[in-house]
């Protein structure tokens, strides 16, 4: 087996781990805002790692450059979408969940 295939496999594994963590987090966290945290971000790095694994597997070619562009685009688009959703909820007046009764602003 090629060494490059092994490295790509390791990256795919870590990326898949982060995406699973994202899914568990969305189910476990208590309210809307905190669910955005795993949804918007562990997701970003999961996808980035999967695409980097594909880039390593492919080697340096036009396809890996395109994959790089996709990674960059995800890194710009994902926080924008998260922010848009969070801001919409905030303007609509969704109250954040609090653990204890302490008002910290």
């Amino acid at each position: 087996m090629d060494i490059r295939t092994i490295i790509a496999g390791v990256f795919l594994g870590i990326g898949g781990f982060f995406i699973i963590v994202t899914a568990i987090g969305i189910v476990r966290f208590p309210d809307f805002y905190s669910r955005l945290h795993p949804a918007g971000k562990a997701d970003t790095i999961g996808q980035a790692l999967v695409l980097i694994a594909l880039m390593i597997y492919e080697g340096f070619s036009l396809i890996s450059v395109k994959l790089m562009i996709i990674v960059i685009f995800i890194f710009i688009a994902s926080p924008t979408a998260t922010h848009a959703v969070a801001q919409a909820a905030y303007l609509k007046g969704v109250v954040p969940w609090k653990k204890k009764k302490k008002d910290k602003k």
């Binding site: 476990r28 309210d31 795993p38 395109k66 926080p79 602003k105």
Partner: protein, 167 residues
């Protein structure tokens, strides 16, 4: 000038995406990049102040590895929070007034905050930032304002040495 730069950038992007050099593809690439450049060159480049912008780009390139490292670290933090058997989540709302003037600086700061897990930018404008932090530790990371100093350092552009020592 900005028209020329935009059309060259668009055309190289076209080549990158197509990767073929047949006559019909090159021709349609030239035509469409000229049309796009005509429509949007003033948005893409804006009013160029070359010295400041170049300084900003170089500083941004040096800012990127730090940001990526922060993203990796903080992702492990989120993974720990998600997988820990007790629910350690303790959400907080943090508000602060940004010390940044340009629109691009605001966008960079808001995106950096959202990308480093543990914090989501809820509201971002020149008067006020509203951040939702998942637990106490990430809220402290925002309050100490390290990221904001770095973004401000990028925004300053040219005066290299002075800003860097404060970061």
């Amino acid at each position: 000038m900005s028209f020329l730069i935009t059309s060259i950038a668009m055309f190289s992007f076209w080549i990158l995406l197509s990767g073929e050099f047949t006559f019909i593809l090159i021709t349609s690439g030239i035509v469409s990049s000229l049309i796009v450049a005509y429509l949007s060159h003033d948005i893409f480049i804006g009013k160029p102040d070359l010295k400041t912008e170049t300084g900003r780009i170089f500083k941004f390139i040096r800012y990127l590895p730090w940001l990526l490292w922060e993203i990796v670290l903080a992702n492990f933090e989120i993974a720990y929070l998600v997988l820990s058997p007790k629910l350690k989540v303790d959400p907080q709302i943090v508000r602060f007034k940004p010390d940044i003037k340009t629109d691009l600086g605001i966008v960079t700061l808001a995106h950096s905050i959202t990308l480093t897990p543990g914090t989501v930018t809820v509201e971002a404008n020149k008067e006020e930032f509203v951040i939702h932090a998942i637990w106490q530790k990430s809220a402290e990371g925002i309050i100490n304002g390290k990221m904001q100093r770095k973004v401000k350092w990028i925004e300053e552009g040219t005066n290299e040495l002075e800003g860097e020592k404060n970061v």
